[in-house]
Amino acid sequence: MSSFDSSLSRRILRMRILVTGLAVVVAFLLGSALVALAGINPLTALRYLFSGALGTRHGIGETLTRFIPLFLATLSFAIAMKVHFYNVGIEGQIALGSLGALLVGVYVTGLPAPIHILLCLTASVVFGILWLSVAGFLRFRFGANELLTTVMLNYIAIYLIDILVETVLKDPNSLINQSQKIAATAKLPRIMEGTTVHLGLVFAAIVGFIVYYYVWRTPGGFELRAVGANSKAAKYAGINPAKLIIIGMIISGGLAGLGGGLNLLGYQSRWVSGTFLGYGFDGIGAAVMGQYHPLGMAFSALLFAIIRVGGGAMQRSVGVPYPLVHALQGIVIIAVIISAYFIEKRTEKMTKGGQ
């Protein structure tokens, strides 16, 4: 019986990977059609997309640098989804996480590097959690739908940090609206010569593994998934859903904040007014595409990073307008969401067929 089960689940997994892969292929074909409509040979454009992102040492470095916050955003969204909390406010939590790292990185000085970095990242995590807990509070106290509150909190977060950078946090020696740079002791070291890849990549990999282990290999993670799968049944089994939702929220907000912190300490070093990172929004699409599994999301986050970096190369080399790059990303997301529907139907059928 158990060998039959595992063969079924393997078949389901294979089907899911296949359908998602097909969706991505269809999305790229559609995107190519758009590129062709703009009068550009899509094959040339695609070649530059991948060679720009993966063809040179610098390109690979850039792609991996973008991958770090994207991957953490996917983890953040997936954990919240496990408890059916729709955290679409990751963008804002990333901004707040960046702010936490910035404040500690600039204004706390005289610490040895590892401690300073850890302190900055702690601030990022706490800021991310606090920002998400605003939406959590509104949901538990007033029943406000978190889809709405978190999306609104994104804008408040982004404008908040801009206002701070334009006023109290403004670098007095700069003509433009930007914060000071973080202290040298707060900078995450680069780990690949001649590129921007930083130690955050290692942090992201470790965090990805921990999340996987916690959700799929511990009793706590089982409870988390149980609440998400069927909160009534979970309650009957003696699990307190509200407690689990709160735990899911805390992890989700913390991961998003951490993503912002790693990006700031490893890459940006300061905040320039008007910065819109977009990792939070892209991360949602990548999480859906990765089917909420850390390994799947590692792939999808990488693909989204490739599109970001390669999109620039596409424009520089053959003049693909930047909006088309965004459109391509949008098409990938839509195709993957549609494929998720097919996957669900198909899984249902396959499971029934097995009975």
């Binding site: 059609a33 040979n41 003509l175 433009i176 905040w271 320039v272 520089r316």
Partner: protein, 341 residues
């Protein structure tokens, strides 16, 4: 099964359309190859440009892009660009251009200046210009900027020359050094024509707060202005609307706004950004590129006053002459720079 067939058909259709488009693309590429065969000896200058927004914005970026197209025609340069590059990511884009073998990298916004200062030392063989930039920390950086007051000075001259109430107004978006310098230029221009003229000054504190702009200008109108210069981004449209309702004259800035309200906008104090792009390319083409800060003005075409043709025809020769005389003085460097507190 039916669904499968349909989806296969769809995919096939896309493939066919792709091949079709790709096929159509090829003849277009051929002439380019022929051109290269004609002039194999000359290696064209490769210019990479970074824009903050879209090249179709009808303002700053579009003007820069048009200058590139023109430089390609006139000087035979090759260029490529990347749009909508946030300051935080601009360093990587510059490095990409440098690795891809570009000779000149134009960062088309003063916000990129600090990043250029960071990246330029890594690539001593690549030249960098910053449009409207403020500092040059290396030999391979040219920060190209404008006086910031020539155009508004001319607007002031025009406003004073056509005002009947002898009260005119000027509105900026910010009260920064640049905003003040622009307004002071206007005041000096107006006083040069009519020392007794009263100039009302205000700023919105925002490039987008149209309502506040309208209120401020309405206040000025109640105090009797009959000409307003507005250089405050999107607020301009609210100001021009208010001027139209009150029947007073308006001067637009920093691009030509005559078409917004042809019966109200008498002229525009323009600061076309293309000149910054053009200047750096020309310096390189003439093998004359030096690092430093370059301040351009009316003489170099970085600033100008552009008439609304309908009003140019309507105004007396005296008005036109006064404005032209001021333009000549400015380009000869006979007018002192406004003092900003």
């Amino acid at each position: 099964m039916k669904k499968k067939i349909i989806s296969l058909l769809l995919v096939a259709m896309f493939l066919v359309s792709l091949v079709g488009c790709a096929g159509a693309e090829e003849p277009a590429e051929e002439p380019a190859v022929e051109e290269n065969v004609e002039e194999p000896a000359v290696e064209p200058i490769k210019v990479g440009v970074i824009f903050t927004g879209s090249i179709g914005d009808g303002a700053w970026n579009e003007s820069g892009y048009n200058a590139l197209v023109k430089a390609k025609e006139d000087l035979g340069i090759e260029f490529s660009f990347q749009e909508s590059v946030p300051v935080a990511e601009s360093g990587e884009v510059m490095r990409n251009f440098a690795y891809e073998g570009y000779d000149l990298i134009i960062a088309h916004d003063f916000n990129y200046n600090d990043i250029v200062s960071e990246v330029a030392p890594e690539f001593p063989d690549v030249l960098f210009t910053v449009s409207y930039g403020y500092q040059s920390t290396e030999d391979n950086i040219a920060a190209i900027t404008s006086s910031g007051w020539h155009a508004s000075y001319m607007a002031g001259v025009l406003a004073a020359a056509v005002s009947e109430t002898e009260i005119v107004g000027v509105l900026s978006a910010t009260d920064s050094f640049m905003g003040k310098r622009m307004r002071t230029g206007f005041v000096n221009g107006a006083k040069s024509v009519n020392p007794d003229i009263e100039v009302l000054e205000a700023f919105t504190g925002s490039w987008d707060d149209v309502v506040k702009g309208k209120e401020l200008v309405n206040g000025m109108i109640q105090q009797g202005i009959d000409v307003i210069l507005s250089n405050s981004g999107n607020v301009n449209f609210g100001v021009i609307e208010t001027a139209k309702e009150a029947g007073i004259m308006a001067i637009g800035a920093p691009s030509d706004l005559s078409s917004v309200a042809p019966d109200t906008v008498i002229a525009s104090a323009v600061t076309p950004s293309g000149i910054y792009v053009d200047y750096g390319i020309r310096q390189l083409a003439e093998d004359n590129f030096d690092g430093g800060v370059y301040v351009l003005g009316i003489k170099e075409g970085a600033e100008d006053l552009i008439w609304n043709p309908a009003f140019e025809a309507e105004f007396s020769a005296e008005v036109i002459d006064t404005v032209n005389a001021a333009k000549l003085q400015l380009s000869n460097g006979e007018i002192e720079e406004p003092v900003v507190e």
